[in-house]
């Protein structure tokens, strides 16, 4: 795999996994904003 390939894969994985972690963290420390 080329360096750019690694970059695209790493960034994609990072974005998606960060989103998942962010969501679940927020669910377990839930605070209504409404």
């Amino acid at each position: 795999m080329t360096t750019l390939g690694w970059v695209f894969m790493s960034v994609s994985w990072f974005l998606i996994l960060s989103l998942a972690v962010f969501c679940f963290m927020k669910i377990f420390t839930k605070q209504k904003v409404d």
């Binding site: 080329t2 894969m9 994609s12 994985w13 996994l17 998942a20 839930k30 605070q31 209504k32 904003v33």
Partner: protein, 520 residues
């Protein structure tokens, strides 16, 4: 007569698992890697993420919000939900019919394909296809199983039919026990298992290294490169952008009407912003992180760089049911990994197919005051008859036809109607307030403009592009062999009859509501 109590979700995690279960399907593990590899590799992720941000996530929030809103008026399906959003319009409920018709059409063929995964997981355990060592024999095995030919592997399609019956009955059983006792309970058990199976397979594939020392280039890392190395020239091709948008639609189950139905069982003060985003994140993890790390790298390791293009180009079904069994045949403990692979697809399939059945069942329950048990029995009888069309006419192109109308046309059309309805008719300010009612997370303000302007424009462009690229040749049956045309025509007539029947049922239901003095 006592008022029937509406079903509801038992827990927040349950509804998230159910929505994620609806979204995570065969496409996450088979369609995504093929689409990415064919459309620019890593560069495909640029339009993919843009479509996710501008279409996928907004539609997810819209469907969760309008579903919860419609649930407040005792409507769980699109005809009622659309009518509650635009009370003054007498015709909008008929657009909502798409939200029952589309999932039902997909379910007709999806359940049959799902049953293949159950059959293949069983065949893996008993090593029924272990004698197939090349593509030709594995393809013959699949054709024999599907009843498309009689050969040394299968003398009739009885095994396929038995597995279909088991799968169909499992679906109906889950639905019979309702939202909390059936769908939620099943998804809370199936989704973690699905992720565990997928993680085991990813670890196995990525640690394959270079099994054949004589071919040092045939490695998992280079297989990942086939999927991820970017080809930026592809970004100038409009088809790549359409493919990325299409993939976002298929993968998130938006534009079908199923998320709307699931969300209708929420309570008024339940959050939709964070829950919707969590379901998206689970689906994307299953698709990009796990789905992208199984089939393509595994196929590369065992078939090499020259064959991988043809394998990826052979389509998702061939990849899943022909290439993967051959790949597992090369591994130690092939029966275990074969079982995990097809078991994973089966769980992904069931959690999706029950969601496709739910709108029709909810429609019977809500609009005709029929008990859940009776609604499932009526639905089961009708769906069973319809499923047989896709089983016995598989070789006549019927499944492709159903997939086009139910899985492509209806999806984009329904999504366009609901986004315009929510952002323009219901009104973006009221919509914004509705989305944030009971929210655990505030959506960035820019999404107010995205929902009102960007998403509808994006969808209208996709509709127009597909109309010119695909619809006209499909309508004229240009790529259909002459022998199959009567079957395709019959399928279209059947679909039209089904749609009209549903529209008539909507009309009857609304008349009954009016007579009984219930809000319409």
């Amino acid at each position: 007569m006592a008022k029937r109590l509406r079903d509801s979700w038992g827990s927040r995690l349950g509804v998230i698992m159910a929505v994620a279960g609806s979204a995570v399907g065969l496409g996450n593990f088979l369609r995504f890697p093929v689409q990415a590899a064919k459309n620019g590799g890593g560069a495909f992720m640029i339009p993919y993420f843009i479509a996710l941000l501008l279409v996928g996530i907004p539609l997810m929030w819209i469907e969760w919000s309008i579903g919860r809103y419609g649930g407040g008026f005792e409507h769980s399906t699109a005809p009622g939900v659309f009518h509650s959003l635009w009370e003054k319009n007498r015709f909008i409920k008929y657009f909502g019919v798409i939200g029952i018709f589309g999932p039902l059409v997909i379910m007709i063929y999806y359940t049959y394909i799902e049953s293949w995964t159950l059959a293949y997981s069983f065949f893996s355990l008993v090593q029924k296809y272990s004698g197939c060592t090349d593509r030709l024999s594995m393809e013959a095995f699949l054709r024999g199983f599907q009843g498309l030919e009689r050969n040394q592997y299968f003398s009739s399609m009885a095994p396929a039919y038995v597995f279909f019956l088991i799968t169909f009955l499992l679906n109906m059983t889950v639905l019979y026990y309702g939202i909390k006792g059936g769908i939620e309970r099943f998804c809370k058990f199936a989704m973690p298992i699905l992720f565990v199976f997928a993680v085991i397979l990813v670890v196995r594939v990525l640690t394959l290294g270079t099994p054949d020392l004589a071919k040092p280039d045939w490695s998992a890392a280079r297989g990942l490169g086939y999927l991820w190395n970017p080809d930026f020239s592809q970004l100038l091709n409009a088809k790549v952008w359409l493919a990325a948008t299409g993939q976002i639609f298929f993968t998130l189950s938006v534009g079908m009407g199923v998320i709307l139905t699931y969300a209708s069982y929420l309570k008024k003060g339940d959050d939709v912003t964070l829950s919707g985003l969590t379901a998206v994140s689970m689906n994307e993890t299953a698709e990009v992180v796990l789905g992208g790390s199984i089939v393509i790298p595994a196929a590369f390791v065992f078939f090499g760089p020259l064959a991988i293009g043809a394998i990826a180009g052979s389509g998702a079904f061939n990849l899943g049911f022909v290439s993967m069994p051959l790949i597992f045949g090369h591994m130690p403990f092939s029966e275990v990994f074969g079982f995990l692979w097809f078991g994973l697809l089966f769980l992904a399939g069931v959690t999706s197919s029950v969601s496709m059945a739910q709108p029709a069942i909810a429609f019977l329950e809500d609009e005709f005051d029929i008990s859940r048990e009776r609604a499932v029995k009526i639905f089961g009888a009708v769906a069973f008859v319809l499923c047989n069309a896709s089983i016995f006419f598989l070789g006549k192109g019927v499944v492709d036809e159903l997939d086009f109308w139910g899985g492509t046309f209806c999806l984009v059309l329904f999504a366009t109607v609901e986004v315009i309805l929510f952002g323009w008719i219901f009104g973006i300010n009221k919509a914004w307030e509705e989305v944030h009612h009971g929210a655990d997370m505030r959506i960035p303000g820019i999404y107010k403009y995205v929902i009102k302007y960007v998403t509808p424009v994006f969808l209208l462009v996709v509709l127009a592009a597909w109309f010119f690229q695909d619809w006209l040749p499909i309508m004229r049956m240009e790529n259909v062999p002459p022998g199959n045309r009567p079957y395709i025509l019959a399928t279209r007539v059947g679909l039209l009859v089904l749609f009209i029947t549903l529209a008539v049922l909507v009309k009857i239901a609304w008349r009954k509501r009016k007579i009984k003095g219930r809000p319409v």
